[in-house]
């Protein structure tokens, strides 16, 4: 049996939490979390180890690295515009009253479309690392799935009354 490369418990915890988010997110945003977990894993395992493993399995590390670099530039843009969208259903037609939201959606679509639906190089690397580390044998906690599932669809309502507002009125 092949020996697994050990990783820090904190690394595996962080990766599992991010992978839980990968499961909950969609529309290219999930790749953002996969990239983050890959970054954490590579920094723990070391780039030389990844390079060596890629060589063993006949994969081109330089090509994968190029793809990762491209995605690193693109994904934060997708994520920032996605986070700013208040209605994430995408089913309804554009609201003519809310011009800012329409613009944000437009920019989100512009960048999200650039992310390919099939990302073989990145997923190959992830599976390679999952197979060669104890991470592949672990499971994601139920709480990690819930974080985004419960928050993203709901509109966050801030308190109507501001702190100290009543005191100012009384004066």
């Amino acid at each position: 049996m092949e020996k697994l490369k050990s990783i820090l418990p904190l690394t595996s915890q962080t990766c599992l939490a991010k992978l839980g988010m990968w499961c909950s997110e969609r529309l290219s945003v999930e790749n953002y979390f996969l990239m983050e977990s890959l970054d954490v894993l590579i920094s723990d395992v070391g780039e030389d180890y990844v390079k060596k493993k890629c060589k063993e399995t006949g994969k081109d590390w330089d090509k994968t690295k190029e793809v990762i670099e491209k995605m690193r530039k693109l994904m934060p843009k997708v994520k920032t515009f996605y986070d700013a969208i208040s209605n994430k259903t995408f089913e309804k037609k554009e609201d003519p009253k809310n011009k800012l939201q329409n613009e944000i959606k437009k920019y989100f679509k512009k960048y999200a479309i650039k992310v390919s639906l099939i990302q073989k190089d990145i997923y190959d690397l992830f599976i390679l690392l999952a197979k060669n580390t104890p991470l592949g044998r672990q499971t994601i906690r139920a709480e990690s799935f819930k974080i985004l599932e419960h928050l993203t669809h709901k509109k966050i309502e801030y308190g109507k009354k501001r702190f100290g507002e009543e005191a100012v009125k009384k004066e």
């Binding site: 999200a112 639906l117 099939i118 599976i127 592949g136 044998r137 672990q138």
Partner: protein
């Protein structure tokens, strides 16, 4: 490979749920999350032409999610791609079976008496 199985199952379940609720954009997106994992796990070499056409159709659907013609095209792709996901699940199951055999038979009839061990007085 428990992690990969869990991730794929979660994505497929979410995809089915969203498809039932008729939010197809999310459903398809979740489905292709699982497909990405399956392709890498099985090491499936997809035809470049198919990838290109699927990407084009996806792009069009992403921009106009209410178009039913494009949706039916994407559904066709999904029907074919489901095979790869099934292949990945089968592969994981087979790998797990091999590991179980390596551990041996845990509930052998002769091994039952071992539990009731009498301590010497």
């Amino acid at each position: 490979m428990r992690l990969l199985q869990q991730m794929m199952e979660k994505k497929i379940n979410l995809s089915n749920e969203f498809m039932l609720k008729k939010s197809y954009l999310r459903g398809i997106s979740h489905f292709y999350g699982a497909y990405n994992l399956a392709v890498s796990l099985v090491d499936f070499n997809e035809d470049f032409k198919i990838t290109k056409i699927r990407q084009k159709v996806w792009k069009r659907f992403f921009l106009s999610s209410s178009n039913k013609k494009i949706l039916s095209k994407l559904m066709d792709f999904m029907r074919k791609d489901r095979k790869v996901i099934n292949m990945a699940f089968n592969q994981i199951e087979e790998q797990d079976k091999d590991k179980e055999e390596g551990l041996g038979d845990l509930d052998r009839p002769l091994a039952i008496g071992v539990v009731s061990y009498d301590f010497p007085e």
